[in-house]
């Protein structure tokens, strides 16, 4: 699917920029006593679509703003294309920024908005016109070029904002929740378009969002943040199937992962844990939990209803979702959600047994929040 779609191929921005990897080294930012970003350290590869994901206030936007130069770090370094730009002004970094609320200049037309960075850079008039129109075609906003931005729909505004970012052929795109102000329906469309656009332009993109669905759909790699810290960086599938912490496990995926309290210590090398008196097989642990505050994590699709079952409970509710259904089961270990094919007939109040897919289970240390190393996940 990628590479085709609305943006076709060839033409635009054929000349790719030089290597534009973004490296953050021990980046730290505090506002007074409040630590917004704590010692983060990672590299965004050239041409990568890198998504920073986390709940609001986790420091992801502050990090993005530091990369852009809109915020100065308290300590640490930022390198773009190998060059230390930590203390450079935003205007000297050659990056493009897309804001959540678009930040289109309201006193200018679409054309003037899109061409703004070019005119600023003193690009000759004819080239400005050509490039602006090329971008407008790419984003399908040609017919809007000479209108004011005031009357545009949110989606069109966002396209104009994207146009203004793309037109300059900057080293990197930084996007701060660019779809946050759109309707859910339109968000999906733009989500796909953005990814296609990226496949076309292949420019380094750092994308901030609190929406895990967006992140999963678009990212080459996801960086999950919470409380000013980076918890995990990895491919969407990695982050989904092997979450590094209990927070990541709970934040990513819908419905979120089921957590069952273990209630006793888990020695290293265990192959099963006891949850509320029932024994559940787990991948062999390479570490142990020395206290009774561990959790067994199981995703909805990794729990299967069966006649026997390691754990039993009563069906609390069934949400029919087309091909699948989401079944909520009350057990002695808490309320669990599981996905079942729509061929399985279950009724509210029915007593069912639950089996767990051993290979796919995760174990978490409730004190450190970290996932345990097991044979299946190393």
């Amino acid at each position: 699917m990628r590479g085709a779609g609305p943006f076709g191929s060839g033409g635009i921005c054929a000349e790719r920029q030089a290597l534009a990897e973004i490296r953050l080294q021990n980046l730290h930012k505090n506002f007074g006593d409040f630590v917004a970003v704590r010692d983060i350290d990672f590299t965004v590869d050239d041409g990568e679509f890198f998504v920073m994901l986390g709940p609001s206030g986790c420091g992801k936007t502050t990090t993005l703003r530091m990369i852009a130069g809109l915020e100065m770090p308290s300590s640490g370094q930022i390198l773009i294309d190998g060059e230390d730009v930590t203390w450079n002004r935003a205007s000297q970094r050659d990056i493009a920024f897309v804001f959540q609320l678009f930040a289109l200049y309201p006193h200018m037309t679409v054309r003037r908005n899109v061409s703004f960075p070019l005119r600023l850079a003193g690009v000759p008039r004819r080239e400005v016109k050509e490039r602006t129109e090329e971008i407008a075609r790419l984003l399908r906003i040609e017919h809007l070029l000479d209108l004011g931005v005031g009357g545009l729909s949110a989606g069109d505004r966002q396209r104009v904002a994207l146009g203004r970012a793309i037109v300059r052929r900057a080293k990197a795109f930084l996007m701060d929740e660019p779809l946050g102000a759109l309707d859910a329906e339109f968000r999906d469309v733009m989500c796909e378009e953005l990814r296609l656009l990226h496949d076309r332009l292949r420019s380094t993109t750092v994308y901030v969002t609190h929406d895990q669905v967006e992140a999963m759909a678009m990212a080459d790699r996801i960086c999950v943040m919470n409380h000013a810290e980076v918890l995990q960086i990895g491919k969407p599938a990695e982050v989904y199937s092997r979450p590094a912490t209990k927070f990541v496990a709970g934040f990513i995926g819908s419905p979120s992962m089921n957590f069952l309290p273990i209630g006793e210590a888990v020695p290293q090398g265990s192959k099963s844990v006891i949850v509320n008196g029932s024994e559940i097989q787990v991948p062999e642990t390479l570490e142990g939990i020395s206290h009774p505050r561990g959790f067994l994590g199981a995703r909805a699709e990794h729990i299967v209803m069966s006649d026997g079952g390691a754990l039993r409970g009563t069906v609390f509710g069934v949400e029919y979702m087309g091909a699948r259904q989401l079944v909520t089961v009350d057990t002695a270990a808490g309320r669990l959600k599981l996905r079942a094919p729509n061929t399985v007939r279950v009724k509210d109040g029915e007593n069912v047994g639950l089996d767990f897919m051993t290979d796919r289970l995760s174990l978490f240390d409730g004190d450190t929040d970290l996932a345990l190393q097991t044979r299946e996940r190393r």
Binding site: A68, G69, L70, R89, A90, S91, R93, I95, A96, F97, F99, Q100, L101, F102, A103, Y105, P106, H107, F116, P117, L120, A121, G150, R164, R168
Partner: protein
Amino acid sequence: MKSGILKPGQATPLGKFLAGSAVALYALVAMIPLVWILATGFKSPPDSISYPPKVFFEPTLEGYVNLFTTRSRQTAEYIESLGPPKSWYEELVRRRNMVISGPSRFADRYWNSIVIGFGSTFLAVFLGTLAAYGFSRFKVPLKDDLLFFILSTRMMPPVAVAIPIFLMFRQLGLSDTAAGMILLYTAVNLSLSVWLLKGFVDEIPREYEEAAVVDGYSRLQAFWKVVLPQMRAGIAATAIFCLIFAWNEYAFALLLTSGTAQTAPPFIPIIIGEGGLDWPAVAAGTTLFLMPVVVFTVLLRNQLLRGITFGAVRK
């Protein structure tokens, strides 16, 4: 809506009629004094004080001529000896047995009003814009205290400090100078200007500037090219408020100016003293005095309307 179903907040025809009538009635009441002044300016002195008042009268420019000239009463023989009048206004004056002895000081006073009014408005808005931007965008130590202090200068009538200001101006040699009056009006208007404009700057999303900065502007350029155009409505509204205050101010003008820097407000009533109660001249002076504010307000009325309702509705 033909269906007769009204959305909440939509006026019924009767409601519209009542509201329109109320506005029309108010406009009428508010206009009467203005029309009266305008008319009086074109009346002859006897007409202006006739009882019952004349609504229909023969218009004359005598009031305007009297406003701009000083005259002296002469005997008929003397006037005869001057030969025929050289201009229409001389003729007008001679009919009352007067001759023009020179221009009055009204033009000077009017010019003073313009210089002081617009000068202080410009300064108050200029400084206010910078201060408002600073307060809105930067971390200013003791910001709240400073803003309160600025506001507190408005908490008493300015005339309450008339005597200290009078003494200070005398010491500093600012009495009866245009610079002194501009300074004074700027100081009085600045608090209003800072507070009003800060509200407008607060309403402009920071993202505009940030986008401009990322696109290659310096902070100052971003302010000039992106923030200022957004502030137009606010600046216009603030400028009108400042101008109206400085233009109409009477007490300080009376107290601190006399010869050189006197503005029109304390001067116009003085016309009464010259050769009886010259109401047409006073009305003429008042009419001319009203003009700049009316013109200024009409020119900026769209901005003003947006400015006053700013923030009431989110776009």
